[in-house]
């Protein structure tokens, strides 16, 4: 019951039911449109009957050399469609695209250190905590940088956890 297709501008007008949830951030227009203009393959939406938005994933691919990687900027599912493994489907899609089209070494994401349900979900999907980023969220809460290695990283070097936490200005990308 889910058509997963590339996100398009008109979906911005359909995603209110997803974004009114207080854990989903509504970014400014140039943020969404920059992602659409630069990484349209990494921005997908799941749609149910009647063009209802069930959820979406937004990401990009960036980095240099062996840190060339896919990044999950946001993944979210509407309350009505939760507990149907939709987030997993969307994550798998982004991993697949990062792997096959992007030829990336790994996929990473940031999550609030307090968001236990989300961390558990990502762990189930094969992500490991790579490092802790101190006061990543508005200078208040720590973030966790979680990673999953892709086929190009044969030795899984990219996901060996760092021993010490880092500060936001030490991050290579934002």
């Amino acid at each position: 019951m889910t058509t997963i297709r590339r996100f398009c501008c008109n979906d911005l007008l359909r995603f209110a039911s997803v974004n009114l949830d207080h854990l989903t951030e509504t970014f400014n227009m140039s943020f969404y449109m920059t992602y659409l203009a630069r990484w349209p393959d990494y921005f997908h939406v799941a749609e149910g009957p009647g063009n209802r938005i069930m959820g979406y994933i937004m990401g990009k691919v960036e980095g240099q050399g062996e840190s060339w990687h896919g990044h999950v900027t946001a993944v979210t599912v509407a309350p009505e469609y939760r507990r149907q493994q939709l987030a997993k489907k969307l994550m798998n899609l982004l991993e697949d695209i990062s792997d096959k089209i992007g030829k990336a070494y790994f996929v990473d994401l940031f999550v609030r250190a307090s968001n236990t349900p989300a961390i558990k979900m990502y762990e189930k999907l094969g992500y490991v905590i790579y490092r802790r980023v101190l006061r990543y969220y508005s200078g208040e809460e720590d973030g966790l940088d979680m990673r999953k290695a892709l086929s190009r990283d044969v030795e899984k070097k990219s996901i060996i956890p760092l021993k010490r936490p880092v500060t936001p200005d030490e991050l290579e990308y934002d």
């Binding site: 209110a16 974004n19 854990l23 449109m33 203009a37 749609e47 469609y81 493994q85 695209i97």
Partner: protein
């Protein structure tokens, strides 16, 4: 170029860097100082000047910035030997753009490109300029030159996109597509293609010309391998085959897609479309395609014979069974919904398949009934059933409710689904009051019983059974409809607040694009509210968001060009157009200045300066002229709205409105489009009519030579008359008939009811008619009265209507549904505009020193008029005093009394309060072991009195603002009274 040599715009880079650093760290003063030093060494450097302009603009000195920019531009043009580098030009471009002078930036680049014809960097800059100006034709010509110069694929695609834009968004004929196709064909023959996006553009060019076969050949050939994801390729192939009419082959392709992605609903619909040879499945979107299309999937079946239909259904069923068998996990809904869709089509074709559809729905319930999306999944299928079959389905479901799942959360989900289905079918409208109330009670009990399930949930997660509270709330609204017992409203609010106590939401964060899709929840109500500061912020934020997007959208389009995502280029331009046609945006653009005019209506000088900033309303007249032929878009998200939410047209809370709960509201779009168009057409005349009315009253008895404006007396009168004619026509009358209506009502010969729902418009009309009479020489014949007559008409219309309202309005706390919004409108619109006419008249009476002595006959007219004005002031004053007194009386009732009144409405015997009692009982003694710490604590903090206080405080705030508006209006009228006494 220059920068490669360590030079920036001809200046050593090390000298420029500190300036940029200062700009980046927002130290503009320092940056300016450094630039001044730089300019002393490089007196005639356009780049240094461009930097200075940039800094000045950032410092908020646009005029100076513009003049420096123009200076730089002049130097660039004059000095042949100077470098024409992109750095200088792009810096100038930034400043020109921020100063809203795109055309100047464009002409700089045009000049530069003329001088250095083969410079790729400059050409790119020029292309960028045309993208910003949305000049699609010029935008095509530049990259063609670039392509000829270097033969790069991307420049060719830039040109091709520009051609597509001419066809889709400009006025280019479809023949242009042939040109685009030719260009691509030639390039492919010599160079091939390297970007998948380029291939997609190629397909769309062919598709738009219906050359599906050609596209299919390309897809099957070597170029097809550019598309790396198999499903993407199949989707294109299926669509092309179907559009080419080869449905059998297309059906096979869609089968393949479904075998790869068993859950793809759209693919299934296309698959059916192919089997039934129904091309409506591939209709293309236009700019005003609704953003949330009707849930009902359009399909065409009438062209099929019985045999063909049967064999199609047989094939489809066999395939769906296979999909069901192969479905690896239980959560795949698609194969089962597909079965429903087949049964639905059978119903549509034969009309005797209802029982099978009901059976299929029951099966779907047994599998997915626990999911929150069950009802929205089945909505479209229920729609084809006749009412009695819907009821039959519901009855069967209800019997099922005895055999719920053993897993508690699942069982809860199933129970909620039952209730939601009952609501969807509209059954609740037919239940007797007692039964309806009984079901609300049951729901509340179910909620309480299941609350322990949420014991261990994170406070941020949604609670199990939360939805029950909103269904209860819907039922309570219906109970109000039936009984008119206000207690049910209060109870509904209590229920929602109760839910919020347990799950603490922050306030809804409506920002960015959500302002376009979610503002409708409050905007219509705010427009009728006296909370002007809040309304002003709402409008300002929203308009800023939209205008910012319109400003930056072209830059983002260029970004898509640069990153070779050509398809997004078209999408971005179309999206911008969709937002520009947004009905809400157009309404806000009209309402924002009208709000300003309302806010300053007590002070004619301020009002005049606002009018001046609005070009005396001229732009709005243009909008009013255009709106009839403009297509409007409706981007509001109605799915998140309860069905009883009041709209601009109807206050659903005041029901009963049969069938509203299951009537898909998006079907009303056509009707709404007409309404909004009419509304904008009428409202946007207001600023100009206000302006002309003031003029009309100001030129009265003055020498024409004293008038500053360009309008001379007869012109004002003629234009105002023309607008009055238009205004009357919009209300369905000729000018003379409309005048007869207002005169008739004012004399009590006709009832106010003849105004219908347009009272405010009629009263505005009367006000402007009076203003026009002041300067018109033919009003005597038109209205059958001279000046004092038309004054009398307006005065008595306003007085009688407002006082009538006041007499019928009850205490606000007991009848919140009453006439407050209309009262606010009366005071802040027609009465305010009338006040302005009065102010303008009084101003002309006052000796300005320059005036010559008027002749005797004029003196007589003046005294006639001043008497009329005096009466008007007196009349308005006493009306406003009544209104202010009423507001004050409401405010003065002690808060505790009001809260008591609210809470006690829930504690009477027989009537509202049964649901409330259940929740109260739960909150008074929460079972901590069952509910856990957090929920128990939340329950203990529940306080109905606090909710009551919130309601009362809110109401008081509104009343106080209204009272303040009345008071300030009274004060201003009293001043006028004193002034006129001296005449």
């Amino acid at each position: 170029m220059a920068s490669k040599l360590g030079l920036a715009g001809g200046i050593p880079e090390r000298r420029v860097r500190p300036i940029w650093d200062a700009i980046d760290s927002r130290q503009f003063k320092n940056a300016l100082k450094l630039t001044t030093t730089l300019l002393s060494k490089h007196l005639h450097s356009p780049y240094a000047l461009a930097l200075k302009a940039l800094i000045l603009e950032r410092m908020g000195k646009p005029d100076e910035a513009l003049s420096v920019c123009l200076n730089a531009k002049e130097l660039l043009y004059k000095n042949e030997s100077l470098l024409m580098d992109d750095l200088t030009l792009s810096t100038l471009q930034i400043v020109f753009q921020r100063l809203d002078h795109l055309e100047l930036a464009t002409s700089c680049y045009e000049h530069a490109c003329g001088k250095f014809p083969n410079n790729l960097e400059l050409m790119m800059g020029l292309f960028n300029c045309y993208v910003r100006e949305y000049s699609f034709v010029k935008q095509q010509q530049v990259p063609i030159k670039m392509y000829k110069l270097v033969g790069e694929e991307r420049f060719l695609l830039w040109a091709v996109c520009s051609i597509q834009l001419q066809v889709l968004c400009g006025n280019g004929g479809e023949k242009l597509l042939l040109l685009a196709e030719g260009l691509l064909k030639k390039h492919v023959a010599s160079h091939g293609l390297h970007e998948p996006e380029a291939l997609i553009v190629y397909f769309s060019i062919l598709e738009q010309q219906a050359k599906y076969g050609d596209a299919l050949d390309i897809l099957g050939g070597k170029l097809g391998s550019l598309l790396m994801i198999e499903v993407d390729k199949l989707r294109i192939q299926g669509k092309l085959l179907a559009r080419a009419g080869d449905y059998a082959a297309a059906a096979n392709v869609y089968q393949k897609i479904l075998e790869l992605c068993g859950d793809d609903w759209e693919a299934f619909l296309h698959y059916l479309g192919c089997l039934f040879e129904d091309e409506s499945s591939w209709a293309s979107e236009t700019i005003n395609t609704p953003i949330n299309p009707p849930k009902y999937v359009e399909c065409k079946l009438t062209h099929l014979t019985d045999e063909v239909f049967d064999s199609c259904v047989e094939n489809a069923s066999a395939f769906v069974q296979k999909l069901q068998a192969e479905a690896s996990n239980d959560s795949l809904r698609n194969p089962y919904l597909s079965h429903l869709e087949i049964e639905r089509r059978k119903c549509l074709f034969r009309k005797n398949n209802d029982d099978n559809l009901v059976e299929a729905l029951l099966q779907y319930y047994s599998r997915f009934g626990h999911l929150a999306c069950f009802t929205s999944d089945v909505e479209a299928f229920l729609q084809v059933l006749p009412p009695e079959k819907k009821m039959e389905f519901l009855d069967k479901l209800m019997k099922n409710s005895n055999s719920l799942s053993v897993v508690p959360t699942r069982a809860l989900g199933q129970s909620i689904t039952l209730l939601k289905t009952q609501e969807l079918i509209g059954n609740m409208f037919n239940l007797p009051v007692a039964e309806l109330e009984g079901s609300a009670v049951q729901m509340a009990e179910l909620y309480c019983k299941n609350l322990p399930l949420s014991k261990d949930l994170d406070p941020q997660e949604s609670m199990h059974g939360e939805e029950l509270l909103s269904i209860v709330c819907n039922v309570l609204v219906q109970l109000f409809w039936r009984t008119r017992d206000l207690g049910y409203f209060i109870e509904a609010i209590m229920v929602l607040e109760f839910g919020l106590t347990i799950r603490r939401y922050k306030s809804l964060d409506v920002k960015n694009i959500l302002m376009e899709t979610a503002s409708h929840h409050i905007l219509p109500q705010m427009l009728a509210s006296p909370l002007w500061a809040d309304l002003s912020n709402l409008l300002k934020d929203y308009l800023k968001f939209m205008d910012d997007h319109f400003r930056e959208s072209a830059d983002l389009t260029f970004l898509a060009y640069r990153h070779r995502n050509y398809f997004k280029v078209i999408e971005f331009v179309q999206f911008k157009e969709r937002l520009q046609h947004s009905n809400q945006y157009l309404v806000a653009r009209v309402e924002a200045p009208i709000l300003q005019l309302k806010q300053s209506a007590d002070n004619i000088e301020q009002e005049e300066s606002i009018l001046e900033s609005l070009k005396c309303g001229a732009d709005f007249i243009e909008l009013s002229n255009e709106i009839g032929s403009k297509s409007l878009t409706f981007n509001e998200d109605f799915q998140s709205r309860p069905w009883w939410t009041p709209t601009t047209e109807k206050n659903y809370l005041l029901g009963p409105f049969e069938g509203i709960s299951y009537c898909p509201k998006e079907n009303l779009t056509k009707e709404r489009e007409e309404n909004v168009r009419g509304f904008i057409e009428r409202k946007s005349l207001l600023p100009r009519m206000i302006y002309l009315s003031i003029q009309s009253a100001s030129v009265l008895y003055k020498d024409n030579s004293e008038i500053n404006g360009s309008l001379a007396d007869p012109k004002i009168s003629t234009e105002l008359k023309a607008l009055l004619e238009r205004y009357a026509k919009m209300m369905g009358f000729s000018l003379n008939d409309a005048i007869d209506v207002v005169v008739g009502v004012s004399r009590g010969l006709k009832p106010y009811e003849v105004f219908g729902s347009d009272v405010i418009d009629w009263l505005n009309f009367a006000v402007f008619f009076n203003a026009w009479s002041l300067s018109s020489h033919d009003s005597g014949q038109q209205g059958g009265e001279r000046t004092p007559g038309s004054w009398h008409v307006v005065n008595s219309l306003l007085e009688n209507y407002i006082l009538g309202k006041l007499r019928s309005i009850g205490p606000l706390i007991q009848s919140p549904q009453g006439d407050l919004p209309i009262l606010v409108k009366l005071v802040t619109e027609p009465l305010a505009w009338h006040g302005l006419v009065i102010q303008a008249c009084v101003r002309t009476f006052l000796p300005s020193g320059k005036k010559k002595k008027k002749s005797g006959s004029t003196d007589q007219s003046i005294s006639l008029l001043s008497n009329a004005v005096r009466d008007a002031i007196q009349g308005l004053c006493s009306v406003l005093e009544e209104v202010a007194k009423w507001s004050q009386d409401q405010i003065k009732i002690p808060e505790d009394n009001k809260i008591d009144l609210l809470v006690s409405s829930l504690k009477r015997n027989g009537g509202a309060g049964k649901v409330f009692n259940i929740l109260e009982t739960l909150a008074s003694s929460p079972n901590e072991t069952q509910l856990g710490d957090r929920i128990s604590q939340a329950l203990r903090s529940w306080s109905p009195v606090d909710v009551g206080r919130k309601i009362v405080t809110g109401q008081c705030r509104v009343l106080s603002e209204f009272w303040r508006i009345c008071e300030s209006r009274i004060k201003s009228l009293k001043t006028l009274k004193q002034q006129i006494a001296q005449v």
